[in-house]
């Protein structure tokens, strides 16, 4: 069975927590790329954001509860992405995924830049749209070519 899989880092089973604009868009992209995706959101209406051709699973439940993560089979996940509206919820889920369930790839979205350092210290990869957007805007305003972002 293993011989059939690619040698790249496994990214077949992906759990996305939070079906907001970012989460739903990401789910769609990944699903199009033939990945197996599970989207978790507290609110069923959020799943309306998913596209018609979304071919993954959805779970309507609160991801703060460990039972929800187990139901999504977090222990078998290759990737967990935390994109709820709340920074703190995202980093908690990310830590549970990484430290307790040893999910190989974990990313948390953060809105508040000042928290980024602490989470890097904890070994959690974070994505801060606020910083990325500000840098992109700065480059646009200052007329430079889009530089390599840190």
């Amino acid at each position: 069975m293993k011989a059939m899989e690619n040698n790249q880092a496994r990214d077949e089973y992906i759990i996305i927590v939070g079906c907001g604009r970012l989460g739903s868009h990401l789910a769609r992209l990944l699903s199009k790329a033939r990945k197996s995706v599970v989207v978790i959101d507290k609110n069923e209406y959020a799943f309306h954001r998913l596209s018609e051709d979304y071919s993954g699973f959805t779970i309507e439940a609160d991801a703060i509860e460990i039972d929800t993560l187990l139901r999504a089979k977090i222990h078998k996940a290759d990737v967990v992405v935390a994109t709820t509206n709340d920074d703190n919820t995202n980093v908690m889920i990310a830590q549970v995924a990484k430290t307790i369930y040893h999910v190989p790839k974990v990313v948390a979205r953060l809105f508040e830049p000042s928290r980024q350092l602490v989470y890097e210290e904890l070994g959690i990869e974070t994505l801060c749209p606020t910083i990325l957007s500000a840098e992109a805007l700065k480059n646009y305003i200052m007329g430079k070519e889009t530089e390599e972002l840190e």
């Binding site: 703060i64 460990i66 703190n88 919820t89 830590q95 307790i100 000042s114 928290r115 602490v118 904890l122």
Partner: protein
């Protein structure tokens, strides 16, 4: 001692009152401006208005020179973040997090939070341990239920009355820590005689709890 408490509600109110009366220096962080004003009027404490999960707010509140940070917000993830930032960025020695979900107790501990308190868990342990209402009071759970602590009042019809402790056949994994007699605490010895109205404070392993009760009362109920 400098203590920072993040959160609101009645627990915060009574905790602050208690700490202040013991002479501790308390700083409260709360994100509701109106409530902060109210707190400033009610308590002899420093009040910081802001989101305690943001590092610079904790800094403003003096986390760098606080011995203890207590996270009492309504959301478990917020409490986790507060304690982690306090510990990692400000090197606060003692952090306490309150959690709503008992399953988070283990998780928070695994993620490095020193002390975790779950009200739901304490109450349910309490109720679970309760065996009989009249003569027995179960004390607080110790070490997540690994030790059972009971207080039993001795009635006149108990078989062990007027017997020396060393002559009573208690199970192995139980010990009488203390006897409250006439409002005084007595540390018992082998030849201490059990009297009516004595209150026995017993520590034992949960598995022998029923046996202990049977020995003392003559029945388990």
């Amino acid at each position: 001692m400098n203590i920072i408490i993040v959160g609101g509600g009645k627990q915060l109110h009574f905790l602050t009152k208690s700490f202040v009366s013991k002479g501790y220096n308390v700083t409260i962080i709360n994100h509701d401006a109106e409530y902060c004003k109210k707190l400033a009027r009610m308590h002899q404490a420093n009040i910081v208005h802001g989101d305690g999960t943001k590092p610079y707010i904790l800094e403003d509140a003096g986390a760098s020179y606080s011995e203890m940070v207590i996270a009492l917000t309504k959301e478990d993830p917020h409490n986790l973040v507060i304690c982690q930032i306090a510990e990692k960025m400000f090197k606060v020695k003692k952090t306490f997090a309150m959690v709503n979900d008992p399953m988070n107790i283990e998780i928070f501990k695994k993620l490095g939070v020193g002390n975790v308190i779950c009200t739901a868990d304490i109450i349910s342990s309490f109720i679970e341990q309760k065996i009989s209402i009249d003569d027995i009071t179960n004390l607080f759970p110790i070490e997540e239920g690994k030790v059972a602590a009971m207080e039993i009042e001795i009635n006149s019809d108990f078989p062990i009355i007027d017997t020396k402790l060393k002559d009573i056949e208690f199970p192995r994994d139980a010990t009488i820590g203390c006897i409250i007699r006439g409002g005084q605490a007595v540390i018992p010895r082998g030849d201490t005689i059990v009297e009516e109205d004595d209150k026995l404070i017993i520590l034992c392993l949960p598995k022998v709890q029923s046996e202990v009760l049977k020995t003392i009362r003559g029945r388990t109920d």
